[in-house]
């Protein structure tokens, strides 16, 4: 048995422990240097781990995740309402989640909606006391009436701080958190629009030469068209904005249910110009032959936030939390990037999908309607405003 007091007293001497099954020789002089070296190595390792954790954020905090995972596993099923195309979510996101949680195979049920449908359905089910969805991710503007109706659980997702999400990508009141973002673009069909005719300002969209040739998702649905136009309101002022809106309405734009449908209209040549989302553009460019569509980068360039909420009275709350944590972790955000959408986590977004797409003259991408709080506070007022203008 080692007598530590003696050992300390004889610090620097060589001790031979005998009469013990364990024979240890401790050279305390060498011991000091060994300990110091070990400490330095340890510090270096810890620093490396910390740096690694900072660069590649920690996936899930260990002690809580284990408990949460067990609880989620017991719940056995997760229903997600979202606005991502079903094929993309099923083919790219679910397999990534199942790779990390093999027990979850076949347990995720995804329902794809248009943003307005997602909002309406979530709200109706919550009000009727028959909540079906556990997690909802939807365009923030469209989802605001549902949030105001109380559909979301107040919950602080620990990954928000662990991943250093920037302010503005999550709700300070914790009703919604990050998801992904979709830069809004003005697109034109290169077979129809001559380079000289490419719109350069927002006012160009009201030019009568685009009569019947413009496609935009229905602004009153507060999705891409609605939020983009709401962003322009504080910049232009009431009179100029109303004049622009009336000019666009006078061009009889083809109003679609979703931005994807508007993009299809332009890509197929059914419309000459339109509003769209960058993920559709990237997918179209990857086709063989690539689609004849290009982007008119009209400033300010904005980005549509798709935010994530946990359903209040969710049937599977722990599974919902586990998914929400994974969704904004590095793995979840990379799976979003794989669908061609822009992760909400800026470093991941910058390193993946946005690299080389945005031209140098576009120095910033603003959150759409971030300059117009009234749009998010009074969504029904804006929906009515657009209905009055566009019908």
């Amino acid at each position: 048995m080692i007598n530590y007091k003696k050992a300390i007293a004889q610090f620097g001497k060589t001790y031979k422990l005998s009469g013990s099954k364990l024979s240890v020789v401790v050279n305390m002089k060498r011991g000091v240097s060994t300990v110091l070296i070990a400490m330095v190595v340890l510090v270096v390792i810890l620093a490396a781990v910390a740096a690694y954790g900072w660069l590649r954020p920690i996936e899930v905090p260990a002690p809580e995740a284990v408990t949460l995972e067990e609880k989620a596993q017991k719940e056995g099923k997760l229903t997600i309402y979202g606005v991502m195309d079903t094929p993309d979510f099923v083919a790219k996101v679910i397999p990534a989640f199942e790779a990390q949680y093999p027990w979850a195979k076949g347990k995720l049920e995804y329902v794809g909606f248009s943003p307005a449908e997602c909002s309406s359905k979530s709200l109706a089910e919550y009000q009727a006391g028959n909540v079906q969805a556990d997690v909802m991710f939807c365009t923030l503007g469209s989802f605001m009436p549902a949030l105001q109706g109380g559909v979301a659980e107040v919950w602080t997702n620990p990954m928000i701080s662990l991943m250093n999400y920037t302010t503005g990508t999550y709700d300070p009141e914790n009703k919604w958190g990050p998801g992904f973002q979709l830069p809004i673009i003005v697109i034109y069909n290169t077979d129809i629009v001559a380079p000289a005719d490419v719109p350069k300002t927002w006012e160009d969209l009201a030019d009568p030469k685009w009569k019947g040739k413009l496609a935009v998702d229905d602004p009153k649905g507060l999705n891409v068209g609605g939020s983009l136009f709401a962003h322009l309101y504080p910049i232009m002022g009431e009179a100029a904005w109303t004049s622009l809106m009336q000019g666009i309405a006078a061009n009889n734009p083809v109003r679609t249910q979703t931005a994807g449908e508007a993009f299809t209209k332009v890509a197929s040549g059914d419309a000459a110009i339109g509003t769209g989302l960058i993920n559709d553009y990237l997918a179209g460019k990857a086709q063989t032959p690539p689609i004849p569509v290009e982007i008119a980068w009209i400033k300010p360039v904005t980005s549509l936030p798709i935010t994530t909420s946990l359903a209040k009275n969710a049937p599977h709350p722990n599974f919902a939390k586990l998914f929400s944590m994974w969704w904004i972790s590095a793995a979840g955000q990379y799976s979003i990037a794989n669908t061609g959408r822009i992760p909400m986590h800026i470093p991941i977004a910058a390193g993946t999908i946005l690299a080389g797409v945005v031209p140098p003259e576009v120095t910033s991408i603003e959150g759409v309607a971030s300059n117009n709080p009234d749009y998010y506070i009074n969504p029904s007022k804006w929906s009515d405003k657009f209905k009055a203008i566009f019908g």
Partner: protein, 569 residues
């Protein structure tokens, strides 16, 4: 005698089950839909809004316009087939079944591919060949009327043709003997005789037009031409926050209009039955000899079927084998690819949508036919006082537009205590929607076979000591087998075609092919050709379903096991 009350009780039970969702519509919409406004205030807003006037006008123009076009085309077609010596009669008699294999939503895709002003193949061809255009614009009221008109030809034809065939030829012959020509006889004798049948077919299609959601949603809404059906949908799914009270009040106005139309239809149908000249079977038929005009008649029939089926289906097939191409330059080069079919069958929910559609069709077909059989029997054969009331009951769903009844069921299954947790989100609300929406038609099909059974058959069985149940199952049921099979097939096929009644009820678990196609079209960028491929597969599924009974009849497949056994021995 006690047993014979069972169908009547069942009919009242049906009425109760039908009414519950309607009550939930009112409850759900008013309870959750006020949003700070009273029902009265909202109603005043609706009534005073100029939008409501244009909605009513659009709905009426669309329904009446489409119905007029279909009635004119189908009447001409039926008369040529039944009363003239046009070549290819056999083929032309079968062809009207084929358009029934194309759901309206699928046909609207085809019309977009063909007649869209910018990418429509017809417009591009005209521009390339003659340098003119675009001439056609499917995104217009005219486009919607055209779609409903040619889409409604088969239904109107199938309604009118029996009347044309069974018309007493003596009156026409008298006219010809008196020196009148074919056209004069047609105008002065044939058409007046057939008028009740034509009017009832016209009203039937008008009702379908009033309630139709598919064409206005696909072709009218994108350019701001809305009807009551699309407006109800958009107050729920495009208005933020959703305005259920507005949707419900609009639904009530909607129902009032359809009730008027249905009442006229029922009145006209009764008149048809009373018209002894067009009922019963004529001993022989007069065939007008058209001589050189028979080629014109052939051309007319061919053109009608060309637009009703050959052109839209051919376009879908063409698009399904073509990669996504932009027609922006006013020209399009077609390439061959199977990629769209690969994409279609690899869609994540494709097989679930197919299996759901088949299960839905089978269950709705069986239950719908069962209910139709009971209601028809109560109406036509029961001697109990008030039995005729069941005929009225069976017609009630006709006055409920699919979208409105879908909304009613949505609220019922969302709110019904105990049941909602289990059933909401599954395919069972869709089954119920399909049964109710199709029931009036099933009742008419089954009644058609039941009305031919003389009461003496049942009376003889009862006199011989058989119970009511034994008489029903041994005598009545086998004799009305044909009507029951037709009713089942009708419901099954229309379940595969339906969109309006189920669009609000559809979820990921309860997705069917039509809703999957709509979702793909509206949410997935550049999926036009995949939509075409999936649409062709849906049409083929319906064609196979239609062909099975015909093949069974033609090749006596029921005898097949016996034949195999014989061969083995």
């Amino acid at each position: 005698m006690k047993g014979s009350r069972i169908p009547l009780i069942f009919s009242f039970l049906f009425l109760v089950i039908f009414t519950i969702p309607v009550l939930y519509l009112v409850y759900g919409s008013t309870f959750f839909g006020f949003g700070g406004r009273s029902a009265g205030q909202t109603f005043l807003e609706i009534i005073s809004s100029p939008t409501t006037g244009s909605l009513l006008l659009n709905t009426a123009i669309y329904a009446l316009g489409g119905s007029v076009l279909a009635t004119v085309l189908a009447t001409a077609y039926a008369w040529i087939i039944a009363r003239t010596d046009v070549p290819g009669k056999g083929m032309f008699r079968l062809l009207p079944l084929l358009p029934l294999t194309m759901p309206f939503v699928v046909k609207s895709f085809a019309w977009i591919y063909l007649f869209s002003p910018n990418i429509g193949l017809a417009n591009i061809a005209l521009k390339q060949l003659f340098g003119v255009g675009p001439i056609f614009n499917i995104y217009s009221m005219a486009g919607m009327i055209f779609s409903l008109g040619v889409g409604g030809v088969p239904l109107v034809f199938l309604t009118i043709e029996p009347a044309v065939k069974s018309m007493n030829p003596a009156l026409e012959e008298a006219s010809r003997v008196a020196g009148k020509g074919v056209l004069n006889t047609l105008r002065k004798v044939t058409l007046p005789i057939l008028l009740p049948a034509i009017l009832s077919a016209f009203m039937l299609l008008t009702i379908i037009g009033l309630e139709n959601f598919d064409y206005p949603f696909m072709l009218g809404h994108p350019v701001g031409i809305d009807t009551l059906a699309t407006e109800v949908y958009f107050w729920i799914y495009e208005s933020l926050p959703p305005r259920y009270i507005t949707a419900a009040l609009l639904s009530i106005i909607y129902i009032v209009i359809t009730v008027v139309a249905v009442s006229i239809y029922i009145y006209l149908t009764r008149q048809t039955y009373k018209f002894v000249v067009v009922t019963g079977k004529a001993p022989y038929q007069t065939v007008h000899t058209l001589r050189k005009w028979k080629y014109v008649a052939f051309a007319v029939c061919f053109i009608v079927m060309f637009f009703a089926f050959i052109l839209p289906f051919g376009t879908l097939v063409l698009m399904s084998f073509t990669p996504f191409l932009s027609a922006g330059g006013g020209k399009v080069e077609l390439f061959f690819t199977l990629e769209n079919y690969v994409k279609a069958v690899n869609l994540p929910l494709f097989y679930q949508a197919i299996s759901n559609a088949i299960v839905l069709g089978l269950v709705a077909g069986l239950l719908g036919t069962l209910i139709a059989m009971i209601l028809s029997y109560s109406s036509l054969k029961s001697k109990v006082k008030g039995a005729r009331f069941t005929e009225m009951i069976s017609s009630i769903p006709l006055a409920f537009p699919g979208i409105v009844y879908g909304l009613s069921l949505f609220w019922m299954f969302l709110l019904l205590p105990g049941v909602s947790k289990v059933i909401y989100g599954t395919i069972w609300p869709l089954v119920l929607a399909l049964i109710f929406v199709r029931l009036p038609y099933c009742v008419r099909i089954v009644s058609g076979s039941l009305i031919q059974l003389a009461d003496e058959l049942e009376e003889s069985s009862r006199v011989a000591g058989a119970s009511w149940g034994r008489t029903f199952f041994r005598i009545v049921l086998p004799l009305m087998k044909g009507g029951l099979i037709n009713s089942f097939l009708y419901t099954f096929i229309n379940s595969l075609r339906e969109l309006g009644a189920i669009v609000i009820l559809s979820t990921s678990q309860a997705i069917v092919l039509t809703t999957l196609l709509l979702q793909l079209y509206s949410q997935h960028a550049m999926a036009l050709n995949t939509v075409a491929a999936a649409s062709v597969l849906l049409c083929l599924l319906i064609m196979v379903t239609l062909a099975i009974p015909e093949l069974s009849r033609a090749y006596h497949l029921r005898e097949l096991p016996k034949k195999l056994k014989h061969l083995l021995h």
